[in-house]
Amino acid sequence: MEAVHDHGHDHAHHPTGLMRWVTTTNHKDIGTMYLWFSFAMLLTGGLLAMGIRLELLQPGMQYWKPEFFNQLTTMHGLIMVFGAIMPAFVGFANWQVPMMIGAPDMAFARMNNFSFWLLPPAALLLVVSFFVPGGATGAGWTLYAPLSVQQGMGMDMAIFAVHIMGASSIMGSINIITTILNMRAPGMTLMKMPLFVWTWLITAYLLIAVMPVLAGAVTMLLTDRHFDTHFFNAAGGGDPVLYQHVFWFFGHPEVYIMILPAFGIVSQVIPAFARKPLFGYSSMVYATASIAILSFIVWAHHMFTVGMPAAGQLFFMYATMLIAVPTGVKVFNWIATMWKGSMTFETPMLFSVGFLFVFTMGGFTGLILAITPVDIQLQDTYYVVAHFHYVLVAGSLFAIFAGIYFWLPKWTGHMYDETLGKVHFWLSIIFFNLTFFVMHFLGLAGMPRRIPDYAQQFADFNLIASLGAFGFGLTQLLFLYVVVKCIKGGEKAPAKPWEGADSLEWTLPSPAPYHSFETPPIVK
């Protein structure tokens, strides 16, 4: 390999203060910014969720006009998906991928910072849209036509926000794929990579494949709104269902984009605290790849009620159920990893085991919803809301928490407060179930989603859900406190605080040096 030698490491001309963050090309700085941005969006989206649950605390119209309630649900979804969950995982990728494959940084360090700095303008477009004439879009986070064709200016802002976030995701993914394929340390073959790296490789592929399709969908929406095309208008030979097809061709891989890195994190944490290597490593890799490939041929299970030939319904039903096989492989592998392990339950492990329970439940409700005749009953009820919060909050978000606690010692050089971490876990899992478990019953009883009022018989469960939601929201402030406390100080963390952890990042001192591996480590 050709080498460009310049050993005068002169860090003096690095900008300091705010400009350090604005101009940085360092994967750790950028990862940190991604994670803080994501947390800010989690609180913003969480605030909107509190608004939703406040209105639903009791039957009748209390606080909001119906159209503002729609704006709350829509923006809660958009902000959580594109602002909180996805950037959080990109933050993890930035911090961890170079360290785990023995690279000094990402392949395209400047573009890396560009991907991050595209997010604040997009977030600004979304948040400011609440204050323009007509308010934010209330078409639901899926932005279905024809409702989205009829909305006001807030809709255009959401469209451009999606464009910008899409550009950010595509650049970020190209960077991650290239880093993984081209920056691995000598000896780090693909099948030696930690599973977190594998899951991100496949996630990045999914992102590059489907974010442009979403861009296409919202572009058609834009031209239907302002340039009189008729993509989604039957009078002009179009079809509103076309929007749903294009959207869900993006949307279904998108849900795996939000869960595969979570699988990766859990696959790092469980072996570390079971003090056993991951059971069935290669089957985990193949399962991840299978899930990714299957995710492209199941999209219409979101659309069973729009009118579809029976053959189509059958195909999408069976294809969807097929995904349970590789997902099952993963769940069994995690359990087998713990089998006869010498387990301890520090906070990351608690969140991972919690993840295993609650995510698997979300997986099962997904299977139930995959059955076409059942789905026709449950479409757009709170059962669906319960299902996807089980996989997105208890799945993605809990894995994010697990990952944060797992790697905080490596990132900050301090141990976090274990007691408070455990309190955070127990409060989170109790309040989470309080909020969302009852939604299964509400959905089965027929309560529709995205409606600000409900019949009297739903009152008790809604009260429980709202109280749980407020508790869950407040609990996350405790998380903020634990993280800030850990950054400010605490017990000094050793290079490898977790006995069973074995990937490359633990060979670096804590906190990890500014450039992870200045010379490539040799992996045997």
Partner: protein, 283 residues
Amino acid sequence: MQQAHSSYYIPQPSTWPIIGATALLFLGFGAALTMNDLGAGPWLLLVGFAILVYLLFGWFGQVASESEKGTYNKQVDISFRWGMSWFIFSEVMFFAAFFGALFYMRILAVPDLAHGASGEFLWPGFAPKWPVSGPGIEETFTPMGAWGIPAINTLILLTSGATVTWAHWGLIKNNRSQLILGLILTIALGLVFLFLQGYEYYHAYHELNLTLTMGAYGATFFMLTGFHGFHVTMGTIMLIVILGRCIAGHFKPEHHFGFEGVSWYWHFVDVVWLLLFVLVYWL
């Protein structure tokens, strides 16, 4: 301008990302305001566009000069290759969305409107024979024929694919005049293509009454060919930049990814055109 860590290359802190983000901030708000006929929208768009142009010149200029100084080693070169390949894949998927819309409308949506209840009660007498606008559109149009300008344009783009490869051979053989002549020919063919497409659009709007608002056919025709034309425009600009760099003596026979990346892009645009010619114009 680099820190080298053994064989690794890491660029210095850079202000280009925040400049780019600012450009998109202006463009996003500017476009939203403009489309709703509000206030300073066009001005914001203009400012955003100006910053974007400044960014493209500045950032790519920096990359070009770093490359010429020999900053990029073999590993960086491979990274660029991966990066460009995945970028082109993302472009393929962008076009796939619009091709998907075309197939869906042509094969499912339009025939469905003439069958069953909607054909019987809503739009009796609607003949779903492609190319068609839609049952609610009274005006008629003439579809664009394949064997006039589009066929000539196919020939032009295919020829330009050959000339850019000929230029590449010139670069590899270190025959600079072949390189520069090949690029000039490619750019000229690209410009002729764009001119003919412009004429075709004029013809469509003024003589065929084929417009963007002409339902299923109008929307898919103009969105697909329009985005393709935009990509040809970008490709031509990129080729002009590469030509300028070649005249300035950039690139070596063994180290010229800037050239190759642009030629990959040009071939991609070429392939999309072939699909357009067959699926939009011809069949």
